[in-house]
Amino acid sequence: MRTRVFLLILIAVAAVVFFGARMVNNDYVFFAGYTVLQFIVLATAWNILGGYTGYVNFGSAAFFALGAYATVFWHKFYPLPIPILIVIGGIVSGIVGFGTGYLTLRLRGAFFAIATLALAVVLQTFVVNWDYVGGSRGAYIIRPNEIALIGPYIQYLFLLMLALVVISLAIARGIERSQLGYGFATIRDDELAAEASGVPTLRLKLVATTLSGALMGMAGAPFPYYIGYLQPSSAFGLEYAVNSIAMPMIGGTTSWVGPLIGAILLGSLQQIATVTISSAVNLLIVGLLLVAFVIIAPNGIVGLVQDWMRGRAK
């Protein structure tokens, strides 16, 4: 299936989802759905660097929060339309992704992973100490109630996030089938042999970190409008780091389908759990599932389905 056709199918599905949600006539669907869509983008972005290229990023929260805080910064300065803020968030996080990669990707993957963790903490410390964006007290963003053509503002945010989902899934799938995808896979499989075969590993790794960071930043840009009150502890929250790792690992890291499945399943599970049990227990479940899947089903749900289908074919 050519990428163009895939894109059209995605857009069609997205349209169905949006108009279907409007028919339910309950704004809660949009609020909960926004979170799930956000996770799809984060999980897909993480997987480009993690699943495709083999480099673990523990600092997804940093890139996400950068996008969110870029929005807060501009909002106080000169309010811009959200699509532009999304682009800005993407650029800022993309640059930081590039910078982090440039500093650490010549070392081993483990050092990159630790550096991403370090990045998250350093950025959080900066933000906490920066009063212009609210510091530790947080920042309020007043969001309008309605927007022309669509109606309730939350539906507009939902639509934007849906667009980001379409973009990131299209990019992920496009990479998988391209020369770039081969390059990423060789870096994951054996970086030394990749270099010896002519793959410019450092350059490709930088592409992966920049792209992954940019997508996460784009997902973070509308967040302040969604949540209304942005605090460093919520923007840099550990649940973003865990979820962006758990969702692709549980869904399956080898294809674009994995993060999608992981995000929908875990995202919905968490929405239900947060409402019925507690948010701490819900995170515990995610963590336990991550550990369990990583040990028992390393190729995730997609892997399990593939094994099952192969078993039936015999």
Binding site: V56, A110, A118, L119, T125, L238, A246, A280, L284, V291
Partner: protein, 291 residues
């Protein structure tokens, strides 16, 4: 002039004492990461676990936290051996350490923190001991005992481990396993068993480090996260695999943090370690004493 000299010398002392404690925290990672090449980012989780165990026993039975931690050494050793076995079977053997091994430890770190929150809540916990509170004064120099005692214990721990690694068969096998697994096998020692013992020791140190931590400061579940950066910053700064390097790196970091907190305020402290780490990785990844 006299006032700032006081401030300076005491910031230095606090930094050195803190550094000693940081060495105890990091020595386990020096073994698991420096020698065994296992990126155990869940190391701080075990330390916090050690802190909470010290807290429970101390608050119920009044036993000194350091004594508790020594009693817990075999338990933590077995825990470490068990974790290594799972890690080996699931990841090392299949060559999947890079992605899945890391995620595994991350999951452990996360699960431990959340479980502690569920059981103990987010309130700060602390222990009581006769040396928490008083200080020794020598002239203008101030030695808070709650920092001096952990520093001394840390140096004893370091000394014991260094002797073990240099003078016992198993200790030397551990140092060798990083470099030549074939030679080890030819000598009749199973590299897996040696690595399991080493990792067990690495986690056993966290029992002590945890007790020292809760002596120095009150503890709550998310405190572990600050230590991830510190631990790896020290390891990298000191040079992987070098135990003396770890101590020097720890002292350096302790001093830098102490001066930053004294002159710029404590809210910048978390960034210091991670900043040091990023800078070291960018400019001198082999560390100061590394191989």
């Amino acid at each position: 002039m006299g006032l700032s000299f006081d401030l300076l010398i005491n910031a230095l002392i606090a930094g050195i004492l803190l550094g000693g404690f940081y060495a105890a925290v990091t020595i386990g990672v020096s073994i698991s990461f420096g020698i065994l090449d296992i990126v155990n980012i869940a190391h701080p989780a075990f330390i916090i676990l050690g802190s909470y165990i010290a807290y429970i026993v101390n608050s119920r039975l009044g036993i000194d936290p350091i004594v508790v931690s020594i009693a817990m050494l075999p338990v933590f050793y077995l825990l470490g051996a068990g974790v290594y076995q799972v890690y080996y079977e699931s990841f090392e053997r299949r060559g999947q350490e890079a992605l899945r091994g890391l995620s595994f430890f991350f999951g452990l770190l996360f699960v431990t923190e959340v479980m502690l929150i569920l059981v103990f809540g987010v309130d700060y916990r602390y222990v009581e001991a006769p040396y928490i509170g008083p200080s020794w004064r020598i002239g203008v120099m101030d030695f808070p005992l709650r920092m001096l005692v952990p520093c001394v214990v840390a140096l004893v721990l370091f000394g014991a481990l260094q002797l073990f690694l240099s003078y016992t068969f198993i200790g030397r096998a551990i140092s060798a396993v990083a470099q030549d697994q074939l030679a080890l096998r030819l000598m009749g020692a199973s590299p897996i068993r040696i690595k399991r013992i080493a990792f067990g020791i690495s986690i056993a140190t966290t029992a002590v480090a945890g007790a020292l931590l809760i002596i120095i400061q009150p503890v709550e579940p998310s405190v572990g996260r600050e230590y991830i950066g510190r631990v790896f910053a020290i390891c990298v700064l000191g040079g992987l695999g070098s135990l003396p390097g770890t101590v020097i790196g720890a002292m350096l970091l302790g001093i830098i943090e102490s001066f930053t907190a004294t002159f710029y305020g404590p809210s910048w402290a978390p960034a210091v370690a991670f900043g040091v780490l990023l800078l070291t990785l960018a400019f001198r990844p082999a560390g100061l004493l590394g191989r």
